[in-house]
Symmetry: C2
Subunit: 135 residues, 2 copies
């Protein structure tokens, strides 16, 4: 199949597939006479693997590591576990940050009611304050 069909099957864009190839995450060995990329069913699997990883917010560098690991079936998979553990931590960390941010924004929003002018705006006054407390 050609790149367009692979794109449709996997839900990736054509450019993205070419980008993954350039980044050595996906090999396309064969080309047609007219120099078009040709793929088989295994390419669908490889691309879905990448897509699944990306839906978990894994970086392409991490995906690359996983692909390499996948190629040594006999090795221990501790590194995979570590990577996922690490990722869970990062996600939880970011959630905490966002919770702080949310509280901060909400209290900022409460400092201004409607029908004020810019001059009176509590939000702008707060933003101009020398230092914003970091909760």
């Amino acid at each position: 199949m050609k790149i367009g069909e692979l794109a449709k099957l996997t839900g990736c864009s054509v450019q993205t597939i070419r980008y993954y190839e350039k980044e050595k995450l996906l090999a396309s060995k064969r080309r047609s006479e007219g120099n078009f990329r040709l793929y088989d069913q295994s390419a669908v699997g490889q691309l879905m693997f990448i897509k699944n990883c990306r839906s978990l917010d894994l970086a392409l560098s991490e995906v690359r590591q996983l692909i390499e690991l996948n190629q040594s079936p006999g090795m221990h998979c501790d590194d995979v576990n570590k990577m996922i553990d690490n990722h869970i931590e990062q996600v939880e960390q970011r959630m905490k940050e966002l919770e702080g941010l949310r509280r901060h924004l909400t209290s900022l929003r409460d400092s201004c009611s409607t029908n004020r002018t810019v001059e009176e705006c509590g939000i702008l006054r707060n933003l101009s304050a020398k230092q914003l407390e970091n909760p």
Copy 2:
């Protein structure tokens, strides 16, 4: 004062200050004989305003809008309120996404115990699955 002192006072890096100037978020009118940027106390305030906005994850384009608004003290500040409301929504949206991600990662992690080989690794097997359910 020169750019290094401004950087120290505000906690921004020297390059960041120059970058803000290029992006027209911060004006530096005066230069020394030797072409060094010269700042006064008001620059500290302007830079802290930007820094405060950034600590709330406001985009530089939004900061630019706020700076412009700040220059028309008589106008209504509804746009400021809208921007912050909008931002709160975005933060909450991202928090929901991350919560889904966290659950997803956790259940993935549970699919593999220690002391397995890559071949047996539940995580890799799951990632290879044609479609990852999107909870």
